[in-house]
C-alpha cells in the first residue's frame, strides 16, 4: 500500500468522526474498509485524479449524509434550537440598543438642525447648540 493510500485511509477515519456515534459503531469499520478498497482501486487504475474523485465524494457525503444524520439527534436539535434562539434574542436586543443610541444621536445632531426648538433634558434648546 502506498503512502498516499495509507494517509487517505488514516484521514478518512477522522472524517468518520463527523458521523453519529451509534452509526459509526455499527458501520465505521466497514466504511473504512470499503473506502480503503475504493482508494486502492482508484490509485491502481486512475492514479491521483481517481483518489481525488473518491475524496470529493467522501467530503460531499459529510455534508449530504453525516450532517443530516447528526441533525436527527434530539440533543443536536435542542442545542441548535437554543443556539438559534439565543442568537435571535441577542440580535433583537442589539438592534434595539442600536436604535436607542441612534435616536440620541439624532436629537443631538441632525435633530438639532431639523427641530431647532426642541428642548433637551439639560434645559438648553437645540438652537442654543447651533449658536
Amino acid at each position: 500500500m502506498t503512502s498516499a493510500v495509507r494517509v487517505s485511509c488514516g484521514l478518512y477515519k477522522m472524517v468518520l468522526l463527523t458521523y453519529p456515534r451509534d452509526f459509526r459503531l455499527r458501520f465505521g469499520s466497514e466504511m473504512a474498509t470499503t473506502f480503503s478498497d475504493q482508494i486502492c482501486a482508484e490509485w491502481k487504475h486512475n492514479g491521483l485524479p481517481g483518489v481525488a474523485r473518491v475524496w470529493r465524494s467522501a467530503v460531499g457525503e459529510v455534508l449530504s449524509v453525516a450532517v443530516p444524520l447528526r441533525l436527527r439527534s434530539p440533543i443536536v436539535i435542542a442545542t441548535s434550537l437554543s443556539l438559534l434562539l439565543s442568537t435571535a434574542l441577542f440580535m433583537t436586543v442589539f438592534h434595539a440598543m442600536t436604535h436607542v443610541c441612534n435616536g440620541e444621536q439624532f436629537t443631538d445632531s441632525a435633530g438639532a438642525r431639523r427641530f431647532p426648538n426642541l428642548t433637551r433634558c439639560d434645559g438648553l434648546s437645540a438652537r442654543d447648540d447651533m449658536r
Binding site: 458521523y19 452509526f23 455499527r26 458501520f27 469499520s29 466497514e30 466504511m31 473504512a32 474498509t33 470499503t34 473506502f35 480503503s36 478498497d37 475504493q38 473518491v54 465524494s57 467522501a58 460531499g60 457525503e61 459529510v62 449530504s64 449524509v65 453525516a66 444524520l69
Partner: protein
C-alpha cells in the same frame, strides 16, 4: 391476476417507487450476497457508471434497508486477513425481493405506456 405491486405489504407501499440508491442496492443483491465494496462496484457497473455512491450513502441506505427487513446480514465467514474479517455480507430478504419485483414491474408498465405513446423506440425482441 395479482401483480407484483399487489403482493407488497401495505406498510411497504409507501416505499414505491424506490429511490435510486435503494433500487440499485437491492438490484445489486438480486444475484446473491455481497459485501459493501462489491455492492458499490456492482451498482457502478449496472448503472453504467451513471450512479456512484460513497461509503456514507451506501451504509446509511444499508442501515435503512436492514431496519425495514428488506436485506439481512449473512453468516458468511470472512477471509483470513483482518481486512476480510471486517467485511459483512448482505443478502435480499423475501420482502426485499418482492419490493424489487414490484418496482421493476412498475417500470415495465411505464416503459409499455411510453412505447404505446411512441416516446421510446420499440426494440426488436
Amino acid at each position: 391476476m395479482p401483480t407484483a405491486a399487489n403482493r407488497v405489504p401495505d406498510d411497504m407501499q409507501h416505499l414505491l417507487p424506490l429511490t435510486p440508491a435503494v433500487f440499485f442496492i437491492l438490484f445489486a443483491l438480486a444475484d446473491g450476497e455481497k459485501h459493501g465494496y462489491a455492492i458499490m462496484q456492482s451498482v457502478s457497473r449496472i448503472s453504467d457508471n451513471q450512479f456512484r455512491m460513497g461509503p456514507g450513502t451506501l451504509y446509511t441506505t444499508i442501515q435503512r434497508l436492514l431496519d425495514l427487513d428488506l436485506i439481512e446480514e449473512t453468516e458468511s465467514a470472512g477471509g483470513q486477513s483482518d481486512h476480510e474479517n471486517r467485511r459483512r455480507y448482505y443478502k435480499l430478504t423475501r420482502t426485499g425481493k418482492t419490493i424489487l419485483a414490484a418496482d421493476i414491474s412498475r417500470m415495465e408498465s411505464v416503459v409499455r405506456l411510453a412505447r404505446e405513446k411512441k416516446l421510446v423506440p420499440k426494440t426488436s425482441e
